[in-house]
């Protein structure tokens, strides 16, 4: 098994203006993603800062999920999908020959758009990741810890043996977050984690994300502009562009600190999008 141990460094003093994250977990350069012959995303350059929340926004079909799924090599599972360019994870090529995608996914967790608890008990949902990864330690404590971190413990502590599918949608999504936390990842990727939830459940998840960003690096895809503005440190704005052969490709338009993107974007298209004139 490959060793890609993160060397966690303390974040340095904030520079007055830093487009590039100072302490990058991921450094993406010239990333293009193909589904078969179709180039869905073209030439993305991006850095994901350690223990920051990075938001990816943009109109539907511009390739946000595609880029996100490159970070934990979930795209490997799609026949014909392939990434070109490079994604460095703590200086190591995520797509290098010696890298084991299973190990990548253990370190880089993912929460999906639609809550997808396993049809098992709440307890077994949380314990599943640690079990398949052969993690040692007291499982009960691990489960409690993960559920507590995901702000779900108080609601479910009396019914851990109950089927996870009996939980509400918002609870299920927090369960999925707890499940991801339980394997102690370094990064959590979230693909529109609140799109199926009501405003109250959404607020809970947003609070949770801020809480988690003390220990985890989070990348979130969202269609909710307020959400991106509220929770994220940096924002990447994607859009789809039509090339000379009139094929649509997802492009990264602008990547900057969230406050800057939402107050003083440097690209006209970003401005149009966040002010609702586009998309």
């Amino acid at each position: 098994m490959t060793e890609i141990m993160p060397n966690i460094t303390v974040r340095g003093p904030e520079a007055p203006r830093n487009i590039e994250a100072l302490d990058p977990v991921f450094t993406v350069s010239n990333l293009s993603v193909f589904y078969g012959d179709y180039e869905a995303v073209r030439g993305v350059d991006l850095t994901i800062g350690n223990r920051e929340i990075t938001a990816m926004i943009g109109p539907s079909g511009c390739g946000k999920s595609t880029v996100l799924r490159c970070f934990n090599r979930m795209n490997d599972l799609i026949p014909g999908a392939r990434a070109a360019g490079s994604i460095m994870y703590h200086g190591e090529d995520l797509y290098g020959d010696h890298v084991d995608p299973i190990e990548v996914r253990r370190r880089i967790g993912m929460v999906f758009q639609k809550p997808n608890p396993f049809p098992k008990s709440i307890y077994d949902n949380i314990a599943y990741g640690p079990r398949v990864n052969g993690m040692k330690g007291k499982m009960d404590d691990l489960v409690e810890q993960a559920l507590t971190q995901a702000a779900l413990w108080d609601e479910v502590k009396d019914k851990l043996k109950q089927n996870a599918l009996s939980l509400s949608g918002g609870q299920q999504q927090r369960l999925c977050i707890a499940r991801a936390i339980a394997v102690r990842p370094e990064v959590i990727l979230m693909d529109e984690p609140c799109s199926a939830l009501d405003p109250i459940a959404t607020t809970k998840i947003e609070d949770l994300m801020q809480e988690l960003s003390r220990d985890y690096t989070i990348v979130i895809v969202t269609h909710n502009m307020q959400q991106a503005a509220r929770v994220s440190d940096r924002t990447a704005f994607f859009t789809a562009e039509v090339d000379e052969q009139s094929v649509r490709h997802g492009r990264l338009v602008e990547f900057d600190e969230t406050s800057r993107i939402f107050t003083n974007p440097s690209d006209k298209r970003t401005e149009d999008y966040i002010t609702g004139r586009f998309g």
């Binding site: 396993f118 990741g129 599918l165 499940r179």
Partner: protein, 298 residues
């Protein structure tokens, strides 16, 4: 631009003749159902009345006999035991093989490759091959080719080949019905593909696999044709005691009894049919129970 509105006079809530059509359709549906049910009831009543006088314990405790003097006490014990042996062995061979084949086709096979599509197509075709053809295969290859003779194991292998395509198809359907989001959730946690299959996909598809397999096996239980070809004996006066033992199965004994010229012997055949139906009914109830008990909702 003027707002277009429907003049009130054209609005009609009253019946426009559609209910009659719907009525006719419902009647047609009910009639189809009734035809199926009536034949089933007629069959049951007929068989039970025919065999009534011999529906006793002797039937399942004694060995068969074609002699009229024994007609009051002869049974089909060796057929029942032979059927149980063959079906149990078939389940043992066909279920693991069928499930693993289905796992390969659903989870590993690259569906864009021509040879995988060819395999799929052929499995569907195999499921439609008449059972007598499997009998020929069993006779030619297993009984004579492998020299296993008309033994329990020959019967079980033949029956396994017969139900294998059905088991594969049922297992594939069950595996397919497990939502991809479950697999993604598992893989995203760092589980390997095999862990995902073993701990998520297979447990979630157990009800479907079990139901389909039981239905396939209950079809196999009623088969007489391949066994007639294999040369399963009819008047076996002992129970199978091993894989190489000669044997008989219920359908073959029934065929033999019913075609006998003496009415007293035919009665035993009718009673044996009731036994066979009871076994089938039991198996199907288990299938239904399993389905309801473990039904998954996502």
């Amino acid at each position: 631009m003027a707002i277009l509105s429907t003049p009130a006079s054209t609005v009609r809530l009253a019946s426009q003749g559609r209910p009659l059509k719907e009525h006719l359709f419902r009647i047609a549906l009910l009639a189809s159902l009734a035809i199926a049910m009536i034949f089933l009831v007629v069959l049951l009543v007929y068989v039970v009345t025919q065999g009534w006088s011999r529906l006793d314990l002797n039937l399942i405790q004694n060995f068969p006999s074609l002699r009229a003097v024994n007609a009051a006490t002869a049974g089909v014990l060796s057929g029942i035991m032979g059927t149980l042996w063959v079906v149990a062995l078939t389940a043992l061979m066909a279920l693991p093989t069928g499930v693993l084949a289905a796992v390969y086709l659903e989870e590993y096979a690259d569906k864009t490759k021509w040879y995988n599509r060819l395999i799929e197509l052929n499995i569907a075709n195999l499921a439609a091959v008449p059972s007598i053809v499997y009998g020929i295969l069993g006779l030619g290859v297993i009984s004579r080719g492998f020299g296993l003779g008309p033994s329990v194991i020959t019967g079980a292998i033949t029956l396994s080949l017969l139900v294998l395509p059905i088991v594969i198809i049922a297992a594939r359907e069950a595996i397919k019905s497990v939502p991809p989001s479950i697999r993604e959730g598992s893989l995203a946690l760092g589980a390997t593909q095999w862990q995902t299959i073993w701990r998520q996909v297979l447990p979630a598809s157990v009800p479907g696999i079990a139901t389909g397999s039981i239905l396939a096996l209950s079809r196999a239980i009623g088969e007489a044709a391949p066994f007639l070809l294999l040369g399963a004996a009819t008047l076996v006066r002992f129970n199978p005691d091993g894989l190489d033992s000669s044997f008989s199965v219920l359908p073959v004994q029934i065929y033999n009894l019913i075609t006998n010229s003496r009415p007293e012997v035919q009665v035993v055949g009718a009673a044996a049919i009731v036994v066979l139906l009871a076994i089938l009914l039991l198996m199907n109830s288990v299938a239904i129970w399993l389905r309801n008990r473990y039904q998954k909702r996502w």
